[in-house]
């Protein structure tokens, strides 16, 4: 538990560096900017203290904001994601995810992971892009950006998961 928490904290720091120095400058087709940092947050142990978790999410978002010169849109979106996480967990588990020691593909299975991570990232990206344009006038464009960016972030995240944690349950 302790080890897992430490490795996640290091993971968070590493991914933030990758996010602000590499991914923020990667632009696909002029529309898409992948954001992978929310994934590390959503993988924090379910039993992490909720207040601590919310503040950590807020600070993580703020860190990205400072580098993107975007005020607080990442902080706002990420805090909302952190607040809603238990609700998303309840969708994939009757016990609200409490039976899981860690949230990895190995532990909760591929299908549940896809649903959970997919919903979370859609919510995060939608909030983010909405706050950025701050209007519903270009709603189609907003939806398109949300969907395409989510797909990109999602793919990157799953590659990362598969490489570092393995996709199957055989190692248990």
């Amino acid at each position: 538990m302790r080890n897992n928490f430490l490795s996640l904290s290091f993971g968070l720091l590493a991914i933030l560096m990758v996010q602000v120095f590499v991914l923020n400058h990667v632009q696909l087709g002029g529309y898409l900017n992948p954001y992978v940092y929310p994934f590390v947050l959503l993988l924090f142990p379910v039993r992490t203290d909720r207040a601590f978790y919310l503040i950590l999410a807020f600070l993580t978002g703020l860190f990205v904001d400072v580098f993107e010169n975007s005020g607080g849109i990442h902080a706002a979106a990420t805090t909302l994601t952190a607040y809603l996480r238990p609700r998303f967990l309840r969708l994939i588990s009757t016990q609200g995810g409490n039976e899981f020691e860690t949230l990895t593909i190995r532990e909760i299975g591929l299908n549940k992971m896809l649903t959970f991570a997919g919903l979370v990232i859609l919510q995060h990206h939608f909030t983010l892009f909405f706050l950025e344009s701050f209007s519903f006038r270009e709603f189609g464009q907003l939806l398109l950006r949300t969907l395409l960016s989510s797909l990109t972030s999602f793919t990157l995240f799953f590659l990362w998961e598969l490489v570092f944690f393995g996709g199957s349950k055989r190692n248990r």
Binding site: N24, I55, F58, F67, G71, E132
Partner: protein, 278 residues
């Protein structure tokens, strides 16, 4: 009272959540106003320094490309045009030998952070109040118009590029005497939109759009883009797509333009409006 505390304690996660969200929204609001920019510039100072280092590396890797752009621009400057100058003589046709007085001063800056894939994009330059930058100054790149300075801290300044929903750049056609305004509808960063060009301008794809000096932010004639699609709306004005000259994905070196007559022009405008109101 105790009940209130009890309820608050029971919902402490919700209370914390709401507090954090309000804080984030305040940051967003502040970032869009001047005071906020000054406040947040403290955070920007260290992120700016780190991004500067990163840009140093990226710049080194793209030296060839940058050199090509620079020599291209040098060539253009060598065939220097008198647009940055204003004739002192009123009667030009008497003599070709006229005296010129400088109106626009140009100084170079480096782009240390930039985005171009969002609905609202920003650039950060490594020049600030220390170097004489002021909000409202124009910014051009080697290929053409880039944007307008929005906020300035001591060492850095941020630019609203053409690729921002609140940027409006005054423009004119290079070959015809008509004015329009360039905005960005979002989407592809290589294309912007030009509005307000009258029907009699007979806009056709291929026409070149350049800056105009009505705003006093740019000298006239700095390239913006070429018309790629033009459509007459309601019979009176054109709505057209502009292929921008500036490639915001490859922008490293830019120039900030200072109008030496800015105060004079502003004072004159103010006086005119004040006396007009009487």
């Amino acid at each position: 009272m105790r009940l209130l505390f009890k309820i608050l304690y029971k919902n402490r996660i919700l209370v914390l959540f709401v507090a954090l969200e309000i804080m984030a929204l305040v940051f967003i609001y502040l970032n869009r106003s001047y005071q906020g920019a000054v406040m947040l510039s403290t955070g920007r100072r260290w992120s700016g320094r780190m991004l500067e280092t990163r840009m140093g590396i990226v710049k080194y890797l793209s030296l060839n490309e940058q050199n090509a752009l620079l020599s291209e621009q040098n060539a253009r400057l060598m065939n220097s045009n008198p647009r940055f100058f204003q004739s002192v003589k009123v009667n030009d046709d008497l003599t070709i030998d006229t005296l010129f007085k400088q109106v626009y001063e140009v100084f170079p800056a480096r782009v240390i952070n930039a985005s171009y894939n969002k609905r609202n994009n920003y650039l950060t330059l490594d020049r600030g109040t220390l170097h004489g930058v002021e909000p409202g100054m124009g910014v051009v790149g080697p290929q053409g118009v880039v944007g307008i300075i929005k906020n300035v801290s001591k060492h850095y300044s941020s630019v609203l590029p053409i690729l921002h929903s609140r940027t409006i750049i005054g423009a004119q056609l290079k070959s015809k005497p008509y004015y329009g305004s360039v905005t960005w509808p979002g989407g592809n960063y290589r294309f912007a939109e030009v509005n307000d060009l009258p029907a009699q301008s007979k806009l056709v794809p291929g026409d070149t759009l350049v800056s105009d000096e009505r705003s006093g932010k740019f000298p006239s004639g700095i390239p913006i883009g070429t018309i790629s699609k033009a459509e007459l709306i309601d019979g009176f004005t054109f709505k057209a797509e502009v292929a921008l000259f500036t490639d915001f994905a490859a922008l490293r070196e830019v120039y900030i333009i200072k109008n030496l007559h800015k105060r004079e022009r502003e004072a004159l405008d103010e006086e005119t409006q004040a006396t007009d109101a009487e």
